[in-house]
Symmetry: none
Subunit: 224 residues, 4 copies
């Protein structure tokens, strides 16, 4: 079945090519500015061909969104293995944001697409990005819930914290930070500045959530 194998592989490659050029285009021009034509041109396919690989423009974006989120989750899960308590887990979460951002600019895509999908409620076509539970944000949110829960349980976080509620908030804020940066044209994005802004925010949140007994040194994030 070598032939079928190869065909499948090649198909997958073409699919990926589409996703890659789309990602690149979004990173360069922003999600609202690109059309199927643009993607087709960049991928060196015809517009019609795009529809052989994806059902719609939204499907392409949803895929990119999901892939980015999964990558971030995998990256973070890996690092979380070394966490010894809940507070340290949160620090690792922050570190992961900073680190992932440093290593992969993909993250900028995240909010752009999310905003595109959800630009303020619209006549919701229920299945847009898939069911609630599978939505990229949900996956990330569940990761954050786990981290918070751990902190609440081992007492390293403020007792008053409700993991579910706060996880939503954290997701919202981190998304906003990225969104904020992502609104700049690519060439204007100053990695150092963004990192700095992220870190300041995370430190405030860290201090705001840590149990009051927490040792001071654990309340600031080291410059990477």
């Amino acid at each position: 079945m070598g032939i079928a194998e190869r065909k499948k592989r090649e198909k997958e490659e073409r699919r990926k090519r589409i996703l890659d050029v789309a990602k690149e285009l979004i990173l360069d021009h922003g999600v609202t500015a690109i059309s199927m034509q643009d993607i087709a041109d960049a991928a060196e396919f015809s517009k019609a061909t795009l529809y052989l690989y994806f059902q719609s423009k939204e499907a392409i974006l949803a895929d990119i969104l999901g892939t980015s989120a999964d990558a971030f989750i995998a990256y973070t899960e890996e690092r979380l293995k070394s966490a010894t308590d809940g507070l340290r887990a949160i620090r690792i979460l922050w570190d992961s944001y900073l680190g992932f951002f440093a290593e992969s600019p993909d993250i900028f895509i995240f909010t752009g697409i999310k905003n595109y999908f959800d630009p303020g409620f619209r006549p919701a076509k229920e299945d847009d990005v898939g069911v609630e539970a599978d939505r990229p944000e949900s996956k990330i949110r569940r990761l954050i819930v786990r981290v918070l829960r751990r902190g609440c349980e081992d007492g390293t976080l403020e007792a008053s914290i409700d993991p579910d509620k706060i996880a939503r908030i954290i997701l919202m804020i981190t998304t906003a930070i990225i969104d904020d940066a992502a609104r700049l044209p690519r060439e204007d994005r100053d990695a150092e500045l963004i990192r700095d802004s992220m870190q300041s925010t995370f430190e405030i949140l860290l201090r705001g959530m840590a149990a009051s007994s927490t040792e001071r040194s654990l309340l600031s994030l080291s410059p990477q």
Copy 2:
């Protein structure tokens, strides 16, 4: 002349009618979903008539945005008069967000329109919403800077806080909170839930920014 007066008043009323229906439509369907046709239909005017009152679609949105922001600023400034120190000023700021939100759902419009104007970098037409300094967000940001500066000076806030930097972050976060709620279809917005979510966020931020000497009771916001 009473007659000229009346004409002027009526004209103002029609202008307001346009703004009101536009606001209502945005609140119901989101900013991207509405067209000049929609506004015209709802206002029971012809499309052409809209252009008698506003130069362009963007002008309508900008007006709504600016008005909302100004109302919020006025509301907050008034309340800030009673602040006795920087920390209490911040608490009043949070209270103002909560109170303004409770009194006027207009606030949901804010981010929707802001995102519309600034949907991720684009070839910026410099004068879109007016010059930097006059932009609604800028005005609010300057208000926040003032509050923070006061707290830094009187020692009620963490020494490490940089008012300008943190003001940006706060604006970003508060905007995100509203944005987050605004993304829900109108009928799904549960005022209580949103309020609760806002308050939790503000409390984390408050704790994160307050000087460590701060008395515990000042670190939580009273349910309104």
Copy 3:
């Protein structure tokens, strides 16, 4: 009846004011670029008021066109009185073009409006600018016919010339010269250059139409 008189006079003055500002606007921005709104603004009337004095936009333009033409005709007729033969009459005609142009830039309006009315045939609303015989161009053409006929009769022009046919051609050419200059924005019109170009053209035409016996000195036009 002093009152009625005065009213009539005032009405006439307002009418003239409209024509004057319209003329000025056309001279500045070109006929296609101006709207009833522009005229109304400049005249400090409302758009509706314009319709009290003129039936339509076209009526305003037609009036301007007619007035300009009449002024030119009067100017030329006056000077033609001193012509001693047909050839000299033509020279005076040319001189009049040059002189009228020098004295009154109104002439630039002529073709702009004519082109507006007649931008290449359209579903002709027969009465647009009035009946054939009263049309400004017709009046000018008849003047030219008279001049040519005189030249043909006294033998100072080529015998082969058919006054009616050639009058049409001359009108066409002179119109074209003006049109050509009128296409430039007002501030770019170099009176000297235009005059020069007009003169060169007229000299060719003069030489082309004069009887071959004509004395050389009569074949060039003196620089004014």
Copy 4:
């Protein structure tokens, strides 16, 4: 591959179809009267399809203008090869106008479109019809300059003639002749009459520009 060939050819044919119906419509109703909708209807395409073949309405007009001019230039250049001196070259130029007009009524389109592009000064978008040097009129003007220069050099034209200046004038006049005819509704255009009018004009110009020594028989154009 024959298949690619065919596709290309068909595409070219459809493009031509659009140009042809546009030309036809312009010839029938004048350039200002037609809209993209009209062209689409006549070509039996949707409006959107037109934009697959041309970037804008202006692009369609520019193409027609350019093609017409190029055809005229080619036609004239070919015939100019047989010119033995400058005066005869000019006669050939006149003949070409007459002949081209007789063979192809397309020429009527020329001025209509030119006026559309240049309807009395406006804020010139520099690249409207292409750069100065490439503009259809410029090409024709350069052709005329060449012809005149030859006549000046071999003494068959009046010594006083300045080729550049006079070329502009000639272009202006010839354009005016065509323009004049083109303003008539198509069905009123009497080819014989127009030809006659053209010829009379050219004869005057010829006599006006020829050196005085020129033999009389060279000063009239034979009826074709």
